[in-house]
Structures are given as C-alpha cells and as structure tokens.
Symmetry: C2
C-alpha cells in the first residue's frame, strides 16, 4: 500500500471578497500549491474538489471540470459535497486512490464564495445542510442548532457562556500572526460576552464568520515523491469518516458528536496511533461549543471535560496540545468548501515548521484535522505525520 505524501499546499487569504468568483479563488490556491509542491500540472491524474453552496451562491453546479480548468489541469474532476466537511471527503477518496495504486498524483481542494449572498443570504444557504423538512422549515439555522447543542452540553456536563468565550479568545489570539486569517486581531472574554446574542447562549463572537476562500493540496504517492526527489516530509497516515442521523431530533443526545468519535477512531486505527500521540490539532470550531465537542470526540479531552480544557487554557499555544493555531474557523474564517483541505494545509505547514506557530510545535510529529458537516451528521478526521 503506497503512503500518501503532501507534496504541496496552497491557500488564499480567507475573508470577504464578494467580487471574486469561486474559480478565481481556486486558481489562486492552486497556483500556490503547485509552486509549493514543485509538481508539474501535467502530472495531475485527477482533481477532487469540495464545494457546498455553489448552486446557490454562484448559480454553478458541475464545478469539477470548471475547477480543473481554473487550475490549468487537463484531467477528470469530481465534486464532493458533505456540507462543511466537503473537501475533507475529497481528501478521503484521494487517500484511497493513492493507496490502492490507482493514482500517484492528485490535486485536492475546495472553494467557497459566500459573502456575495450577504450574511442573511449565506446563513439561509448554510441552513440547507440541515434537514429541510424537519429542521429548516421549522426555522432552524445553524446558530440555533449549535445553541441547542450548547444548552444540552451545559445541562449534561456543566459549563457556561464564559467558559466557551475562552475558545474564541484563544483562536483570535492564534490568528494574529496568520496572514491568511480573516481576523488578525485579539479579543477578550468581555468582548465575547458583551457581543450581541445570535442564539442564546451563543453570541456573535461565538460564531465563525461568513468567508470566501480556497485551499489546495498536491498529494502524491511515496514512490512518486522519491522518484522526483520531492521535499514531501508530511504524510496522511490516517483517514476516517463517521455519520449520524441528519436531524438533531433523531439523535439520542445533542451533548456529544458520535459521528466525530467514529471518524477519529477510524482515523487513529488507520494510522496505528492513539490520541495521546497527537501534538497539534485543527478542529471544526464553527461555533465555540463545536470546538469543545470536537476535542472530546478526537480524544484530546475526555467526555464532559472539553469545557474545562477550554476554561483552563489546555489547548492554547502554551497548552499541552495546541488546538487551532491557525485561528480556527472562528478567526481564520470558514469558506465552507475550502475548510477541510485548509486544515490539512495549516497542519502540514505546522509540522514542516514553516508556520507562524511552527516553533511552538517543533517537536510535534503528529497532527490531526477534524472537519464536520451540518450538526456533525458528517465528520471526517485525518492524521498527518512527519515521516521523512
């Protein structure tokens, strides 16, 4: 089985650029990825691309071939969609293809253009990641859904809004040095608590922004990397996906995310490691409560302890295992289709040491990425390791 190496990563800055098309954003990310990888475009065998709301935001389906065009690549292309976990599902299939020997060189990425819809329009578009018949038509948006999950968590395990505020404060602090982040500025616990409420107990600063952006990875087989003498020291060694009932009402509890637990167990199994070996993580903090649920699901905190980990700063840049050194979705931004692959891009840079926070984790050999779709009806976890 061939090992999957990250030959190169590319990102656009995340932010609001409503005048730029998705293809424009993706082209920029892929130019950066090809430059980083030193892999010629002609070697790409397939393009695997994640996008969520292109039909609504850009009146554009069938984005696979369009994005291959934008990347200057003449190869078959497929679009993957699993709401906010879209591009992580593309990575999963890329891993399968390289491991099985079907491909040696793949371009994997994602993009999302959202801000052209406005905040209200984008929130409405995002809502269709929930169950239209049983949730959306009842008025549920994602801030409301995660507010329900936060309340369920507080009732089951304790904690409050002030505890959650530490997640936002940490992620903003992490983003200050990240030139690709949407918000390069610090905030305080008071800022978070005094911000307008979006859906109690979540306020504006508990929520990730509406973002435009793109991300790309050039993934290659170990044998291709060796043959070409590439500097590809980071490997994707574990990949797992989990699923749950689509609607919150159909689940046993809203205080946990079993799909993410399933995904992380599979990914760790696949990599042959355990969570205790993880040195750095990027997790899906679409809302502050989501990061608490995520670190429990991937085993960086035990059940019900995620809130204390947040409160006590266990996941800050100085903590035991830093989480979201990029700034996370909260401060780096969350262009939905780009997010999953962007997490792997950030982790690769961290593990290689060419990241603003690279020094902090210079001893880390293992990074984990946690990407969730909807109210975690879909979850994808990847393990990255320094291998060369």
């Amino acid at each position: 089985m061939s090992e999957v190496r990250v030959a190169g990563v590319g990102l656009t800055p995340f932010g609001n650029s409503p005048e730029r098309t998705g293809r424009d954003l993706f082209a920029e990310a892929t130019i950066a990825a090809f430059e980083d990888a030193s892999v010629p475009r002609e070697d790409i065998e397939e393009v695997l691309y994640g996008n969520f709301m292109g039909e609504i935001a850009e009146h554009q389906g069938h984005q696979g071939p369009l994005m291959a065009d934008a990347a200057g690549v003449d190869a078959p292309a497929t679009r993957y969609e699993a709401a906010c976990a879209s591009s992580a599902t593309a990575v999963r299939d890329a891993v399968a293809r390289i491991r099985s020997g079907q491909a040696d060189v793949l371009l994997v990425g994602g993009a999302e253009r959202m801000s052209n819809l406005g905040t209200g329009g984008a929130t409405e578009a995002l809502a269709i990641a929930a169950d239209d018949l049983w949730e959306v038509r009842a008025g549920m948006t994602f801030p409301a859904a995660y507010a329900l999950m936060a309340e369920a968590y507080f009732e089951t395990y304790g904690g409050d809004s002030e505890d959650l505020a530490h997640v936002a404060v940490k992620n903003h602090a992490n983003a200050v040095e990240n030139d690709y982040a949407q918000y390069q500025r610090e905030i305080t616990v008071e800022d978070v608590l005094e911000a307008p409420r979006v859906a109690t107990p979540l306020g504006l600063y508990d929520s990730c922004p509406i973002s435009d952006g793109a991300s790309a990875l050039v993934l290659v087989s170990e044998s291709y990397a060796d043959r070409k003498g590439l500097d590809a020291s980071v490997a994707i060694t574990g990949s797992g996906q989990g699923g749950d009932r689509m609607a919150l009402q159909d689940r046993e509890t809203m205080a946990r995310t079993p799909a993410a637990s399933e995904a992380s167990e599979k990914a760790y199994d696949d990599a042959g490691i355990g969570p205790e070996e993880v040195g750095v993580a990027e997790v899906h903090d679409c809302f502050t409560i989501a990061e608490v649920l995520a670190i429990e699901a991937i085993g960086l905190a035990s059940e019900g302890e995620g809130i204390a980990a947040a409160r006590e700063g266990r996941t800050t840049v100085e903590g035991e295992v830093p989480v979201n050194l990029s700034g996370g979705l909260k401060a780096k931004g969350h262009p939905v289709g780009a997010t999953g692959v962007s997490q792997l891009a950030e982790l690769t840079k961290l593990l290689r040491g060419d990241h603003p926070h690279g020094d902090r984790v210079e001893d880390a050999d293992v990074g984990v990425a946690h990407n969730a779709g909807g109210t975690v009806a879909s979850a994808v976890v990847h393990v990255l390791e320094v291998v060369a």
Copy 2:
C-alpha cells in the same frame, strides 16, 4: 485486489411524481436493492450517493446522511456531484474502496426530484451543469448545447435529423416492456420529425424527459460474496473517468466527446478487454445526438460512423450490439442523479437474464455503461462482466 461484485440492484419506476421527495424515492430504490441482494443493512459500511439539483429542487444540501437515514442505514455517507454523471462518480469511488480493501459492503445510489420544478424550472436548473459565466448567461440551455454539437457533427461527418430520429424510435421500442420506464410506448420516425422543434436540429422527441426517480446498488467484495454465499454473478471489472474543458467554446471540436473516449479507454484497460468484447451497452442519450457520440466514444462505432449505425439499426435489439435496451434516457427517463447507477442496474439485470430483453443478450458476458455530465465535460464508463 478484491473483485467488486454487484450483490443487488434496485430502481423506482422513472416518471413524474412531483409530490414525492428525494428521500422517499431513494428509500424505495434501496428497499428493492436490499431485497435483491440479501445483504442486511447492518453490513453496509458507507453510503455513496449521487445527486445534482437537490439544493434547487428540494432546498436540500448535505444529502448523504439524509439518504443513509432514508435507506435505514447507520453509516457515513458522502454525496457526489458531476452533473448528469453524479452517481457514476460514486460508483467509481466504491470500486476503489472495495478493491483497496478499505470496505467490503457499500450502498451506492442516486436520486433526483425534478418535475416539481416544472419543465422550464428543471431546464433552468439543469443549465448550471454548463459554465454559468460563459454559457448560461449567454442563454445557453442543454437542448441548445446539444443542438450545436449535432450541427457540428453533421458538418464534420454528415447525417441529418432523420438519421437521429432512429435513435429515439429504437429507444422507445426498447422501453415498451420495461415497467420502470417513463414512456412505455412506440414512436415512429415521422413522430420524431413532426414533433415541435426545441433547438434546431433537435425536436421534442430527440430529447429525454424531465424525470423523478432513484436507483441503488449493493456492491460487495468477492470475498464477502463467497463468505455469505451470495448470488452475485456480475462484477464491475472496469472503471474509467474522463474530463474536458467545461465550456464548449474552449474545445477543439464539438463533433466528438474526448472525455468519454478517455473514460472508455481507461475502463477497458482496467477490465483488460476491448470494445469488440462488449455484448450490450447502456449509454447517455440525453439527446439523440448524444447516443451517436457515445457509441463512437466507447468504440461500438468508429469516428463518424455512429450516425450510420443509428440509421442502419446496428444497435437495435436485433443489431450486433444492442444499445439502451432499457429505453435509455430518452424513454426510460433521466432523473439526473439516479441515471448512472440505473445504467449499471439495468446492465446487471440484462447480464443475469432477469430483464425483459434478457433473452436477447443471453450470450453476452460483457456490458458497458456510459454516463456523461454537462456537454460531456465529465464522462464515466464502467465495464460489467459475468464472472460466476
């Protein structure tokens, strides 16, 4: 490398049922597939699902987990989208996962609800499979695009509307015995030529209808099939995908479909066979000209000879290699996301002999499915063989 077996197939009748939801349709197809397969739902490891216009037709993204729910399956789920080739791309990844040993039992399918949009609304929704900026905004719909391709074909190789009419006549005749087909009635060449023009040289009867429907396959590894003593005599032995520039204007010619040629070459290579071994084919006849282009691309007619093959009846039920014995998209119907998998379901039934036209191809060991997205910017070809 594990061989991929078709354990069971399921279809809904294709037609117009605007009051039925996508999940309702998919549930019906999967009930049939599980019954046919004799595989318990608990054994399904992942759901791979194709859909094109769910965001527009049903205000529903993130359909993977929703469709796992509808199928009664507790497993991770991903949605694949490549316009009208959506569910064939899902099959491709299922093949990769079973071959690589990552999975033994997968549910693969697709569904589309379209007729609730009305013919105009559905045509508008379909248009976003083309390039929004350079084609759709210029007023191009798919009948117009395929009309351009037909004109280019006529100019390059000869032929006329009357030649194309034979494709529609053949496919309607084939569908008469197919209880799953939208149109179980014969038409004549005169009917086709006298029908209202949609986009010259294509008329109403050169065009597939707007359809609702779903399709499902239970795919298993050979070892699982053997262990469970399943009756799974048909294998997917070849899988290939091809790509082309998204917009027609960017291509060298509109008279050929190189993406489909690429897909079929890869699929034949993968299966280790050539087109001369094919005994029966299901191809993507969204318009009559598309079937002509398809049979050339998959090697059942040489370049420029597809039109003569149609005119001379070489692909009828009595011809050398029957094409679209199901009725094809033209008469069976074309619920976009369901079509790719439905082609494999029809071929499986043909190769097993439990199909209205099964007797006609009882000597056939090899079937080929050709599924196209957009103006064939995406193409997927699968080879099925009787192996047990």
